[in-house]
Structures are given as structure tokens and as C-alpha cells.
Amino acid sequence: MKKVLVIDDNPTIVELIKYAVNLQGAYNVVVAYDGVQGLERVYAEQPDCVIIDVKMPRMDGYQLVRCLRGDARTMNIPLIILSAMTREQDQMTGLLSGVDDYLTKPFKPSALNAAIERVLRLTPADRQRRMDHLVQTQAERE
């Protein structure tokens, strides 16, 4: 059974996400309630996918994503941000940080499950191609 780590400082939201993910019944869900605890859980649990809130104590979601993407041991873990921050700027910061998908709250369980299935299929080569594409489209050109 695939393991999904949910990192969110709001226990009610964590329970909602657990409920949504368990609708499919295909995942073992583990949780953390701030960014640093989430990082600890990544190392301890070695999840197949991580769902990350942005606004959290100790380490925010963007920092957590960069932290995981910057280390060869964790750089290819599928990462989804699920956040109440809905501005285009927020989503762009998430994508530039290295997240595989950015969903906004309130969320539909079906959309979350579809996103999990989608990011679980990504290969390291897919991820590198996406990053190269972002560089080509977003970085500063002459």
C-alpha cells in the first residue's frame, strides 16, 4: 500500500484530507503538524507522496519543498501543495520551488485523489523535463 504523508498545522484540515484520501482506500496516511515535523516524518516514513500546506509554523511549505528537492535522497518524492493561498503568485512560487502540483482549498476529494495518482506516475526524467521547461519559460531571458 502506498504511503501518503499529510503536513498541515490545522488538525481539522488534516482529518478532512485523511478522509478524502481514504475514500479511495488505497493509501496508508501518516501526518505531521508543522514543517520541521514534516521533514522528520519524510526521513522516518519515506512516504510515496507528500501533501503540504504552505502557511505552517517553524518551516513553511515552500521551504519544505525546496529542502526536499535540494537533496538527492528526497528530490524525487512526489510533492503536492494544498493551500488556501490562491493567488497566481503563490502558485508560481510553489511551482518554482519544485512542487509537482498545486491545489487550493477548499478542495474536492476527487481532485486531490486525481492529483495523487498523477504525481505518483511521474518519473525523475519527467520532473527534470518539467524543471527545464520552467527554466525556459520563467527564467530571465536576455
Binding site: 527534470q128 527554466v135 530571465e140
Partner: protein, 133 residues
């Protein structure tokens, strides 16, 4: 292939071998200036503002985290993108790096293509944060 503006990087690392390897990894899209101590790094920052600061966590007997804090507390440098590129890889190291004000934390050894992309994206992200339009 798109042509990108050359980014001016201040690289702070006391190990000449590491500096050489980073220079080789980055290739020709970057202009690198190297500093091997905090004092030298601060002098470089006073001379000219780079597009990005990349620092080791341990610079000889000195701390790259102290340099991060200096950057964040200096008004003219506050928005400078800072990446820690380091062999210090524990969870505590990473938390301390972000607490000190680093924007990104990359653990050695690194893949050259991945590093180049991260530098370009971090530069874009910081500019986007300052000027979303």
C-alpha cells in the same frame, strides 16, 4: 535553446576544489566571483551587488549561517537570493539554514543540470516575489 542573461554569482567557499567543481558545473551562463572568508564575502558585497549569493555552511572556521544573517539584516542586501550549497545534510542543518535566512538549501553532491535549473528558478522566484507584475 533560449539565451539567458548571465547571472553574477558570489560564491563563498573556502575549498578551492569545491569552487572549481561548482564553476565547472555552472558553465558559461554565469559570472562567478569567489570569496573564501566572511570578511572577503562582505567586501565583495560592498563592492557590487550580485544576482545571487551561494555559500557553504562551513567557511574555514567561520559560519555561512552568520553570512546569511548579515545579508538579511543589511537593508541593501535584504532581497538578495541566498542559496546554501553544502555537505551539511542533517535535518538540523537544514532548519538552521532556513532560520538564518537562506532561500534554498542544496546538498552536495549535486547534479550539475539540476543545480543550474535551481539557481535560475530561485533567481526568478525572488524577482517574482518582489515584483509580481
Amino acid at each position: 535553446m533560449q539565451q539567458f542573461r548571465k547571472l553574477y554569482i558570489l560564491l563563498v567557499d573556502s575549498d578551492p576544489g569545491a569552487c572549481y567543481r561548482i564553476q565547472q558545473a555552472l558553465g558559461e551562463g554565469f559570472v562567478l566571483r569567489n570569496a573564501t572568508s566572511l570578511a572577503e564575502a562582505k567586501q565583495c558585497l560592498a563592492d557590487s551587488l550580485p544576482d545571487m549569493l551561494i555559500s557553504e555552511v562551513r567557511i574555514g572556521q567561520e559560519s555561512g549561517l552568520e553570512l546569511c544573517r548579515f545579508v538579511r539584516l543589511t537593508p541593501s542586501l535584504r532581497f538578495l537570493p541566498v542559496m546554501l550549497l553544502t555537505s551539511h545534510a542533517t535535518l538540523q542543518d537544514k532548519v538552521a539554514g532556513f532560520d538564518a535566512g537562506a532561500d534554498d538549501y542544496v546538498v552536495k553532491p549535486y547534479d550539475a543540470r539540476h543545480l543550474v535549473a535551481r539557481i535560475r528558478l530561485l533567481s526568478r522566484m525572488k524577482r517574482f516575489e518582489q515584483n509580481p507584475d
